[in-house]
């Protein structure tokens, strides 16, 4: 058991941008840390540097307080689960799991005990004599896990171990891995580009982008107080809706313009984010999570006045536990560079469409409503916006506008 520290760790593959740029990150003993970010952001590279499979260009990595920059993988006492499992095709399941123990000259009886135990925990008892070829994807994945578990290493490193499984199996394995990690209390770094996995599995989540760390924090922190546009857009599903508007004061409260409809912002927001003051009368970017909309018609009368918008519904997705409603508003999006990248990375809407809409001055929004809502496609609907939960970002540097406690909370993530 050990903590793992990245100190200004940089990785360069020669030409091109840095794969990992000055990464500072600490993972506590026994913690489940998820590295998340879009494809190519350097997650795997960071993980592989911990494993020793990739040389460190600059900075230091410490495992259990020891600098391991020059330590070969076999002496790092870590176990890794690969995306394609990397099982030894010519060995049986038993031998796959026992291989590391044999190399470590672990006593035969002890080895046998550990392999059988792990196999039992993973439900692999009956497959011990088979070769990987004769296993299903999920079984192979479990063998890969087993191979890591029997080692009883200082840390588990997992690189998208579930990405080759179908959706249902993925959900099942997700909780299984969580349970095992909980039981063993082994420090774990888990790489994924799936933010749902990140949010559900991680004790803490580190969001990376283009080799740089954006934000570290618990899933809740990331969800509630994203430090910038990127994290805000990347975390959460469906992703956050963005629009730009002038921030105006009216009757002591801030108001924004959402597609020609004035929306008044709750005064609590103003109190929590004193920095907002500076943006009075200026264009800013406003983020609305789909969860913060609601169908006004099912809400009773207690909804405050002025915090709703009317829109025509383009598409309704009834998911059972919730209903997703897509609608268009004349609330233009400012296509900053960050915004474009986010659209491309987060796998949201087609960036070209978003851009052309932005030029026309329209923007598509998604709202996640209570399943009781009976909204139909093509109908005109009035949607309530919980203005207490709005997010604000500087249009020039994409940073979240806080300036209060929230700010500190977000900054804390970095260790």
């Amino acid at each position: 058991m050990a903590e793992i520290e990245f100190e200004k760790v940089t990785k360069s593959f020669g030409e091109g941008a840095l794969a990992v740029d000055q990464l500072d990150l600490g993972i506590k003993d026994g913690e489940f840390m998820v590295l998340v970010g879009p494809s190519g952001c350097g997650k795997s590279t960071a993980l592989r540097m911990v494993a020793g499979l990739e040389a460190i260009s600059d900075g230091e990595i410490k495992i259990g307080g020891r600098v391991v920059n020059e330590v070969p993988p076999k002496d790092r006492d870590i176990a890794m689960v690969f995306q394609n499992y990397a099982l030894y095709p010519h060995m049986t399941v038993y031998d796959n799991m026992a291989f590391a123990l044999k190399l470590a000259k672990v006593d035969k009886g002890e080895m046998d005990k550990r392999v059988k135990e792990a196999a039992h925990v993973l439900g692999l008892d009956e497959f011990l004599g088979r070769k990987p070829r004769a296993l299903s994807g999920g079984q192979r994945q479990r063998v890969a896990m087993g191979r890591a578990i029997v080692r009883e290493p200082q840390a588990f490193l997992m690189d998208e171990p579930l990405s080759n499984l179908d959706a249902k199996l993925r959900v099942q394995m997700r909780s299984e891995i969580g349970r095992i990690q909980d039981d063993l209390e082994v420090t774990t770094i888990y790489v994924t580009h799936d933010q749902v996995e990140a949010m559900t599995m991680g004790d803490r989540v580190a969001v990376m982008r283009k080799g740089e760390l954006q934000q570290v924090g618990t899933p809740t922190e990331l969800f509630l107080t994203p430090v910038n546009l990127f994290t805000a857009g990347f975390i959460g599903s469906p992703s956050m809706n963005f629009l730009s508007s002038k921030l105006e004061r009216s009757n002591g409260n801030y108001q924004i313009d959402v597609g020609g409809q004035k929306v008044t912002i709750h005064e609590k927001v103003t109190k929590d984010r004193p920095e907002l003051e500076k943006y009075d009368g200026k264009e800013i970017i406003i983020g609305v999570r789909p969860q913060d909309f609601e169908d006004k018609s099912i809400m009773g009368d207690d909804a405050p006045e002025g915090s709703s918008v009317k829109a025509k519904v383009d598409l309704v997705e009834v998911l059972g536990t919730e209903t997703l409603v897509h609608f268009e508003l004349n609330a233009p999006m400012v296509m900053t560079e960050d915004m474009k990248e986010l659209q491309a990375d987060a796998g949201g809407q087609d960036p070209a469409t978003v851009e052309s809409r932005a030029e026309e001055g329209t923007n598509e929004f998604v709202a996640q409503l209570d399943p009781k809502s009976r909204i139909k496609r093509g109908e005109e609907v009035e949607l309530f916006i919980d203005t207490r939960q709005l997010h604000f970002f500087d249009i020039d540097n994409s940073q979240g506008i806080y300036g209060g406690d929230g700010d500190r909370a977000a900054g804390n993530g970095n260790r």
């Binding site: 494993a51 499979l53 076999k74 870590i78 690969f82 590391a100």
Partner: protein, 311 residues
């Protein structure tokens, strides 16, 4: 009924199973049509492929002198097995085969591993490495014979300088045999290396990473990952090379100027030069054929056990 399970290697040997299956197949009209459709080509293969072999075997039990053929029983084989020239042919060919294949294999593995690491100009290196292999054996044999020559032969000069030999290489049968091994190694190592390289390149890289993380050093990785996964390629390379070496002809004939006997030169002398030893040469040809089958069976078993184990 599953075709795949029928083809399981473990079941291949059983004759009962085979005939039972054949009967079953003929009961099935679709399969019967299938057999009917392939029978002409089967027949053709039998005539072209098997007939000459059967005929050669038949001839080896005959006494053929000039135009006359009479039954000789096992006489040809008895004469052959007691012929000192045949003994030296077997000994020379065995030494040649074992040495050349072993050296080619070891060097081939080394070269394949080196090329597999990847470096600039890898493609060019691969092409250049194949040049010796592309040469007709007779040409390279004669070329090397010149280099081994007493007068002005560079190899002779070097061998003398490093005191490997004291006399002319080509005047000594032993030295010539080793010289032939050397030429064969020069000529076919690249081929072996490329065969093995192809085998190496299908081994996924992450398996090595897993082994490294699991604590294997370079040697252990080679032993526990590379070798077992390379086994099919190794079997193919060894099979090809062993059979080739076992039938070596041009190299001995042209380079040793027929002083060093191989099984094939023994056959050639009997069949193509001698007028009285045709049957003896033919018997030796059958001997090569049968021993080649044994060698092939040995290696294919090696391959078979591998795939059976994986299945």
């Amino acid at each position: 009924m599953s075709v795949a399970s029928d083809a399981r290697p473990g079941e291949r040997g059983s004759g009962d199973g085979f005939f039972a299956r054949l009967r079953g197949d003929f009961a099935n009209s679709e399969r019967r049509t299938g057999y009917t459709m392939v029978s002409p080509s089967l027949l053709l293969i039998l005539v072209i492929g098997a007939w000459p072999v059967i005929y050669a075997i038949w001839l080896s039990f005959q006494r053929v002198i000039a135009q006359e053929t009479s039954f000789a029983g096992l006489d040809n084989y008895a004469t052959m097995f007691s012929d000192p020239r045949f003994h030296s042919a077997v000994i020379n060919t065995s030494i040649f085969t074992v040495l050349s294949v072993a050296l080619e294999f070891v060097l081939g593995v080394g070269i394949a591993l080196a090329i597999n690491r990847g470096f600039r100009g890898q493609g060019a290196t691969r092409a250049i490495a194949l040049i010796p292999w592309a040469f007709p054996t007779v040409v390279s044999a004669i070329m090397w014979r010149l280099m081994y020559q007493q007068t002005g032969g560079i190899m002779q000069y070097i061998a003398e300088k490093i005191q490997l030999v004291s006399g002319p290489i080509l005047a000594s049968e032993q030295a010539t045999l080793f010289a032939a091994v050397f030429v064969d190694v020069w000529k076919t190592t690249p081929f072996v290396a490329l065969l093995l390289l192809a085998g190496l390149q299908v081994i996924p890289g992450d398996v090595y990473e897993a082994a490294r993380v699991d604590g294997a050093n370079a040697l252990q990785q080679f032993k526990s990952v590379t070798l077992p996964l390379l086994k099919p390629a190794i079997v193919v390379a060894l099979l090809f090379r062993t059979l080739d070496a076992w039938r070596v002809f041009d190299l001995f004939w042209a380079m040793s100027d027929r002083t060093v006997e191989s099984l094939s030169t023994y056959v050639f002398k009997g069949v193509r030069i001698s007028q009285t030893e045709f049957s003896l040469g033919d018997a030796a040809a059958v001997f090569i054929f049968v021993t080649s089958l044994v060698i092939a069976a040995f290696f294919i078993r090696g391959l078979g056990s591998q795939s059976a184990g994986e299945g």
